[in-house]
């Protein structure tokens, strides 16, 4: 029988880690398979019994109850179970029951054991704990910067024709030409052949240092027969060449023909992927129209960052930097129009932008903090106009109005310090649901423009309030339990309908938010003032609030979920759609689904930890 021709074989090949096996291994595995069917509610593995199979779910779903902590996990098509019992010499400890009518492919223990010996990816998959699996997934997802340069070709960097002059040109004329063309190097050519190169350094090290006559011809000072590079070589090779020779320019030559000039700056540009340049361009812009235009490059910048394989936290940081630059510029423009503010003030940002966790889909969360000199009659109009201008401009730049109306345009969030203090006082001392919602927004707060000392004043008061009221942490901890990550399957029963979207997983609400909420509670407890989720976890560990393992698990989960969201948004953008947070599980590979499940289970575990730590006997 040619098993490779059966659909079963095709199915096996889509299942990680079986897709990492070679043809011989996969064929012998396929031949060893026995197929079994169990109806809904049937017990597949009964604690105390023996199991000698690795189960692969072909269709249907099962639920597994962990004998230790009672945690329930669900598995669906393409998932494995039963290997833990095999590793315990066949002893079943966790009960597995069918949630649906299910068809299983049973892989005999002998084949399982053989593959554990033969295949590293098979071994990694079945021997690692979920947090280790997540870690290796992350390292596969992100590549470091060197890799990007390895992947790039010198040809990718060529954009303009290099400057060329004849050897007889005078040193003075050469310098003038370079100034005029704004170039740092020029090539000296004769009969289309490169004779030498002159860079701006020469004017310092040779011309000025030796007090040369600048009317002499340039070939007196040029570096003859400069080192060249071919367009097929990688960016990394170019970088190494420059470092080794301590030069910053490499003429690009193919078949004796000059194609262009590669500079160190070109390589740095490539390394840093536009965001910095976008931020610079925003700072240089002097009209709202210009900023609006620049803001349209944000989705492209996001795609570039994701495609480059940077990690999610760094990408979100870059995107947030752009967000901050836009907002600062917009406030500056507003003040330019309205005149200097009459009293001390601080424009604050909250939510994802403050956490440096912004992506392509973000709304505005902001507020205005005013000095206590504030007098509604005298100053009210000014700040109202300022807030309106900023908010409307941000909306034009793609930052939608906050659906919860947490914006400085709302009178409530445009208040003097004493009122803000009373808000926090109320939230912290009498936490009710709405208060907790505001707390979670405004505990992630930064000053983006205006008086930092004014902001710090409020900040100090708030932290003092929290330290005096430990009970508040219990409420925040309870609040962090609100959004539960789906445990197990990403199928109809965990998917939610979202307006125009088909049933999909809201990865922000179900994964990233719970993780952010947990980190916030730990951070508040540890007294740290950092806001970024990854930083908070680090600080909470340093303050001894959580173990290194917990910090790492949560950080990895946050990073992985953020990465999945970013990749989903890149897909949105490339399809010409609006970026959103609704991930269709079908767009994920079985491996990604597995890792997603690991991340969700970890978050769920830490929600429990949080609940035990802060809520014991208090709620």
């Amino acid at each position: 029988m040619e098993i490779e021709q059966l659909e079963i074989y095709d199915f096996l090949r889509t299942c990680h880690p079986l897709n990492k096996l070679d043809t011989t291994q996969l064929t012998s595995l396929a031949l060893g398979i026995e197929i079994s069917y169990k109806p809904r509610n049937a017990v597949v593995l009964q604690p105390g019994n023996q199991n000698q199979w690795l189960y692969l779910i072909r269709s249907g779903a099962v639920t597994r109850t962990d004998h230790q902590d009672g945690l329930v996990a669900q598995f669906g098509e393409g998932d494995f179970f039963g290997h833990k019992a095999i590793e315990r010499n066949g002893l079943i400890k966790n009960k597995v029951t069918c949630l649906e009518d299910s068809l299983f492919y049973l892989i005999p223990e002998a084949i399982y054991q053989d593959l554990m010996k033969q295949s590293e990816s098979f071994r990694n998959y079945f021997s690692q704990q979920k947090n280790q699996r997540l870690k290796s997934a992350l390292s596969e997802l992100t590549t470091n910067n060197e890799n990007i340069l390895i992947k790039s070709r010198v040809a990718d960097f060529l954009h303009h024709k290099p400057l060329t002059i004849a050897p007889t040109t005078s040193i003075k004329a050469t310098a003038q030409l370079m100034l005029k063309k704004n170039q740092t190097a020029v090539l000296i050519t004769e009969d289309n052949q490169i004779k030498g190169i002159v860079t701006d350094r020469v004017f310092c090290t040779k011309v000025t240092a030796n007090e040369m006559n600048i009317n002499q011809s340039v070939d007196m000072v040029m570096t003859a027969n400069p080192v060249c590079i071919s367009p097929q070589q990688t960016g990394l090779e170019a970088m190494l060449q420059m470092t080794r020779l301590n030069i910053r320019h490499l003429p690009v030559v193919q078949d004796g023909k000059l194609l262009g000039m590669l500079t160190a700056t070109d390589l740095i540009h490539h390394q840093s992927h536009n965001p910095i340049y976008l931020v610079n361009a925003i700072h240089k812009a002097d009209s709202l129209e210009e900023i609006e235009q620049l803001s349209q490059q944000l989705p492209t910048a996001l795609c570039k960052l994701v495609d480059a394989g940077l990690n999610a936290n760094d990408i979100a940081y870059s995107i947030s930097s752009i967000g901050r630059a836009i907002m600062q510029k917009v406030i500056k423009l507003a003040i330019g129009n309205l005149g200097e503010p009459p009293i001390e003030y601080a424009f604050v940002i909250a939510g994802s932008l403050a956490r440096n966790d912004q992506t392509a889909h973000s709304d505005q969360d902001n507020g205005l903090l005013l000095s206590d000199e504030f007098d509604e009659a005298r100053h009210g109009d000014y700040f109202k106009q300022l807030a309106q201008f900023v908010s409307d401009s941000l909306s034009r730049c793609g930052y939608v109005y906050c659906p919860g109306d947490v914006m400085a345009t709302n009178d409530k969030w445009r208040q003097p310090i004493k009122i803000w203090t009373s808000y926090f006082n109320r939230w912290i001392n009498t936490p009710e649901p709405k208060a907790l919602m505001y707390s979670s927004i405004f505990f992630d707060m930064r000053c983006i423009y205006g008086s930092q000392p004014l902001f710090d004043q409020l900040h100090k008061k708030v932290h003092k309030l929290i330290n005096e009221n430990r009970m508040f942490l219990a409420f925040m901890a309870a609040n962090a339990q609100q959004n539960r990550p789906p445990i197990g399957l990403f199928r109809r029963f965990v998917l939610e309908k979202h307006g125009a979207e088909n049933k999909s997983l809201d990865i922000k609400k179900r994964g990233i938010m719970p993780c952010t909420d947990i980190a916030r509670v730990f951070a508040l407890d540890s007294g740290t003032e950092v806001i970024n989720t990854q930083d908070r976890l680090k600080s909470a560990h340093q303050a001894g609030i959580i173990s290194a393992e917990a910090a790492e698990d949560l950080a990895d989960s946050h990073e992985f979920l953020s990465m999945v969201r970013l990749q989903h948004q890149v897909k949105n953008i490339k399809k010409g759609q609006e970026a959103n947070n609704y991930v269709d599980p079908n767009e994920l590979s079985s491996l990604e689904r597995r890792h997603l499940k690991d991340a969700f289970e970890l978050i769920s575990t830490y929600q429990e930890v949080l609940s035990k730590k802060y809520n014991q006997g208090q709620m």
């Binding site: 029988m1 059966l6 659909e7 031949l31 060893g32 079994s36 069917y37 169990k38 109806p39 299910s102």
Partner: protein
């Protein structure tokens, strides 16, 4: 049922009187399964033919696929697929269904070899097919030609199992409903795309497992005789 049992007895007696040899003798000497045993613990031989048509007198077998069930589990290792040689030109509409060409069929095994393989693997097991008439009629007709008698056989028809349940419940039956692929959907079995005799045999085997386990769940101890045709 008594008469039905004796039919197999009669066939066996006739067959033995003709001094069978080799694979056939071995097959005849192996007793048929006990019909009072639990259907879960029976060994099954699940078969599917692709043929040039439905008439066993005129038409030919193009290919044979079979798998076996032991201990309630389908054994991929004991599955086979063979093209069968035939003199008859393949009709174009069948070719498009099975994607088998004349050329491919000419490389197949002979009907005699096919019967030997069948007897060897079917021995001691209960035969299963979806809409058994095709498989059973072709096999018995070939057996008469080759050996001069019909084979004693126990046959389970997954289509009949379903038809009987619906008749019992007084449910109307729509012809399409009882097709293999629609029944599989009813039992939440995955969709198959391919159309090849072995693929169909495995699909039928999976359906049988589902049918038995669902009846079992309803509290019956399903016996072989409950599902025999």
């Amino acid at each position: 049922m008594f008469g039905w049992k004796s039919k197999n007895q009669k066939r066996l007696e006739k067959a033995l009187s003709l001094h069978p040899k080799g694979q056939l003798k071995n097959f005849l000497m192996t007793p048929l399964a006990d019909q009072n045993r639990s259907a879960e613990h029976i060994d099954y031989f699940v078969i599917d033919f692709e043929t040039t048509g439905l008439d066993y007198k005129k038409d030919h077998i193009i290919s044979m696929g079979f798998t076996t069930i032991k201990n309630g589990r389908i054994q991929l290792q004991h599955s086979q697929h063979h093209l069968v040689k035939t003199d008859k030109k393949l009709q174009s509409d069948n070719v498009s269904i099975h994607q088998i060409t004349d050329d491919a069929v000419s490389h197949g095994i002979t009907v005699k070899t096919m019967m030997n393989l069948l007897l060897q693997n079917l021995s001691g097991k209960v035969m299963v097919a979806h809409y058994k008439n095709i498989e059973e009629n072709f096999i018995q007709s070939i057996s008469e030609t080759l050996y001069g008698h019909k084979l004693p056989l126990l046959v389970v028809d997954t289509l009949n199992i379903e038809r009987r349940i619906r008749q019992k419940l007084n449910q109307p039956i729509y012809s399409n409903q009882l097709r293999l692929f629609n029944l599989r959907e009813h039992y939440h079995l995955p969709r198959y795309h391919a159309h090849n005799a072995l693929e169909d045999a495995i699909a039928t085997a999976e359906l049988l497992l589902a049918q038995i386990s669902h009846r079992q769940r309803q509290g019956y101890q399903v016996k072989l005789k409950d599902i025999l045709s």
